[in-house]
């Protein structure tokens, strides 16, 4: 099951920062890095990210567990490039049937994988250190997001883990009715679609009931909301965003000075 709970030590100095500031810092950092195609800047960025990890109170092992889809993606990138890369420059390292692995191909793959990690890790770190309720609060209070959207999404989010259990229940109920796909792939697809449909019907019904219950407690009734949990955006939060920009800029500068910089556009 997907886990949305924060996993960081909550007192860590950067984990404590305002959720909106953390999110903005991650976005700034990632966007700056997208500008280059070379492997050096992302490598520096990853080093910076890992060095900052203790300040977020996230242990490396925990991060690895959270980031495993990235590892899967990395393997996918390498395999795809090895099999299908059009440009096969450099020295031939391995030759097995259609797969010709050259140093050029490996370098390109390495660059792509590094970029992927450098750009995605800040987001992973932010969500690993942020409580969803705090994020919704901060979005409303500090980023002026509409409460209708932020609280609504938060409430809907709470129902997501139920979907896994529902899927299992519906599948078992269907087996009890004598419905199964066996080995026929077409029947499997049909069963999948009809189970998904039943899940959707149930989810919509639950969502509607939740919306009525929220209405009954005055949600989005046009009265200005007050806040029970105050989220503050202080100077340190601004510094976090600025720091992210400076560090990402520094990574790019090093890459330019080393002559490896390859702009995304142009």
């Amino acid at each position: 099951m997907i886990n949305f709970e924060p996993v960081a030590a909550p007192e860590a100095p950067l984990a404590r920062r305002n959720p909106v500031a953390k999110l903005a810092a991650a976005l700034v950092f990632s966007f700056i890095l997208i500008a280059t195609l070379d492997p050096v800047a992302p490598a520096i960025a990853i080093a910076v990210e890992l060095a900052l990890l203790p300040l977020f109170g996230v242990r490396l092992r925990v991060l690895a567990r959270r980031a495993w889809p990235l590892l899967v993606g990395a393997v996918g990138v390498v395999v795809t490039l090895v099999l299908f890369a059009a440009e096969r420059s450099g020295r031939v390292l391995v030759e097995a049937g259609p797969a010709v692995v050259t140093s050029g191909v490996l370098l390109t793959a390495l660059g792509l994988v590094l970029r992927m990690f450098a750009v995605a890790l800040p987001g992973v770190i932010v969500f690993a250190t942020t409580d969803p309720t705090d994020l919704a609060d901060a979005l409303i209070q500090n980023a002026k997001a509409p409460a209708r959207f932020a609280i609504g999404a938060l409430a809907a989010f709470r129902l997501v883990p139920l979907l896994g259990q529902e899927w299992q229940m519906i599948s078992m109920a269907r087996r009890a009715r004598g419905v199964e796909a066996g080995r026929n792939p077409l029947a499997k697809l049909r069963l999948f679609v009809s189970t998904a449909f039943a899940l959707l019907v149930g989810a919509i019904r639950r969502g509607t009931r939740l919306a009525v219950a929220m209405d009954a407690r005055g949600f989005d009734a046009g009265i200005p909301r007050t806040v029970a949990r105050r989220q503050r955006f202080v100077a340190a939060d601004g510094l976090l965003i600025a720091g992210a920009a400076v560090l990402a800029g520094a990574a790019l500068t090093v890459s330019v000075l080393l002559g490896t910089f390859r702009p995304l556009i142009g």
């Binding site: 309720t133 229940m169 109920a173 269907r174 009890a176 419905v179 039943a198 639950r206 200005p224 007050t226």
Partner: protein, 471 residues
């Protein structure tokens, strides 16, 4: 605060031909405690929704007027609080205290007042945990208490409870009744919809009965109303107190063993169990929430793979297939031998009409179409569903959906029936029909396993009981 006046009130949902509720004249004074009764379909929930201001003007057609303290409820929403049946879909936030604060934030309560009022509401309902307790870690009864606290924190003059205990086990239901009894101020008006009348009577001093065709049938003290209308109400499905149900125990000793469980378990959900299920016997599985009763039902139904021990079918149940454990049987073979009825009937619906729903099992087990038709027709009339043959299963009422889910399991004539809370939240009429049906099946030589919290059901039907403890 919280006086209700209805004059010729009626409401018809957009797109429906029939009025959900009509011709209701009613005056409830501030501080009165009213139990609102009526047969299924009399419009009780619609009336509560109207009082809570939850029927937007464009969602249907209104007749007459409804007022709370002289105001349209849609404009006086802050005077009313409502608690619904399902705890899962009433809680909004991840932490308990935040959830109580949610309504206060919406109403614009000054920030400094929010937390004291949250604490006061939590104390009133006897909430036993600190404010940061995750709502997902609460039992159904505790979640419902929290939902009640969330409503009470808003200090409504009128409190509406729409079957707040229907989804709870007896312990959870008692928790909620105690919380309601302890939390109400003397001048808070209460309107409660609940068909388990005996349990609700301690909370109310007046009973109002809605007539399904429109209007109010009876109105007065519980003694007066049940004295005059008790029999008619009981026949229509209301659980009128003091009307015991006749027991239906087996008159002949049980027959062959159909299924055995040998140190069967699925830790951490279910600790190891030994049991044998016999033909012509009704076995009730009881025990507290979290003891793994539903898990046991799924294991016996051949729907889950055991982690420890095993389930074995005998030749009497499985024919030549008795060496294979039920969870490895092909689905059509399973449906012919063991029928499972799930706690939530909607999980089981696969098709678009009641007729197709009943025909599905027989068709899957390769019966000729003529035989399918006669099986389906017999089940439709046996379970009072004939008029609904063309209806979509998802549009049925709770009682109809339950009857259909039992009927679908019976359509393939399995020798063993495994039911999870088959009588949960049912009105008296459906309840009696289910007991009759199960008793008939048992007397015809079927085996029956029922996981249940319902003591009356156990008393009326069970020939043997198995009590599970928390693992």
């Amino acid at each position: 605060m919280g006086a209700v006046t209805l004059r010729g009130f009626g409401w018809r949902h957009a797109g429906r031909r029939a009025w959900a509720v009509r011709g209701v004249d009613l005056r409830v004074e501030a501080g009165e405690r009213v139990l609102l009764l009526g047969p299924s379909g009399a419009g009780k929930s619609t009336l509560l929704a109207a009082l809570a201001g939850l029927l937007p003007e464009d969602s249907g057609e209104q007749e007459g007027t409804v007022e709370i303290d002289g105001l349209d409820p849609r404009k006086g929403q802050e005077r009313v609080g409502i608690v619904f049946q399902d705890p899962q879909t009433q809680l909004v936030m991840a932490r308990s205290g935040d959830d109580v604060a949610f309504g206060l934030e919406n109403r614009g309560t000054p920030a400094g007042e929010i937390w004291p009022r949250v604490d006061e509401a939590l104390t009133r309902v006897g909430f036993p945990y600190p404010r940061d307790r995750p709502t997902a870690a609460l039992s159904g009864g505790e979640q419902q208490r929290l939902a009640l606290a969330g409503v009470l924190a808003l200090r409504p003059g009128l409190l509406l409870l729409d079957e707040p205990t229907a989804n709870l086990d007896p312990t959870g239901a008692a928790l909620i009744r105690a919380a309601v009894a302890g939390a109400l101020d003397a001048d808070t008006t209460l309107i409660l919809v609940e068909h388990r009348v005996a349990e609700a009577l301690s909370l109310v001093d007046r009973v109002v009965v809605l007539e399904p065709g429109g209007g109010v049938r009876a109105d007065g003290t519980p003694e007066a109303v049940f004295g005059t209308h008790g029999d008619a109400l009981a026949d229509e499905g209301v659980w009128v107190p003091g009307r015991p149900v006749p027991p239906r125990h087996a008159t002949t000793p049980p027959g062959d063993v159909l299924l055995t469980a040998d140190r069967l378990g699925l830790p951490p959900r279910l600790a190891a169990v030994d049991l044998a299920v016999r033909a012509g016997e009704a076995l009730a599985v009881v025990g507290p929430n979290g003891a793994g009763k539903s898990t046991l039902a799924l294991l016996l139904g051949g729907l889950l793979k055991p982690r420890t021990g095993r389930v074995a079918a005998t030749t009497a149940l499985a024919g030549g297939d008795e060496r294979t454990p039920p969870h490895r049987w092909r689905a059509p073979a399973l449906a012919r031998r063991i029928g499972s009825v799930f706690q939530n009937p909607e999980h089981q619906f696969v098709t678009n009409t009641v007729f197709d729903e009943l025909a599905l099992g027989p068709r899957r087990t390769s019966q000729p179409e003529a035989a399918v038709r006669s099986t389906v027709d017999a089940l439709l009339s046996r379970l009072r569903l004939t008029k609904l043959a063309a209806a979509n299963p998802y549009t049925l009422s709770g009682g109809e959906a339950r009857r259909l889910s039992v009927a679908t399991a019976l359509a393939t004539a399995p020798r063993l029936l495994v039911c999870d809370e088959p009588t949960f939240g049912q009105d008296r009429r459906t309840w009696l029909e289910l007991v009759d049906l199960f008793a008939e099946l048992r007397d015809a030589g079927h085996g029956l396993v029922a996981v249940t919290h319902d003591p009356e059901f156990v008393a009326a039907l069970a020939d043997r009981r198995l009590t599970l403890e928390r693992p």
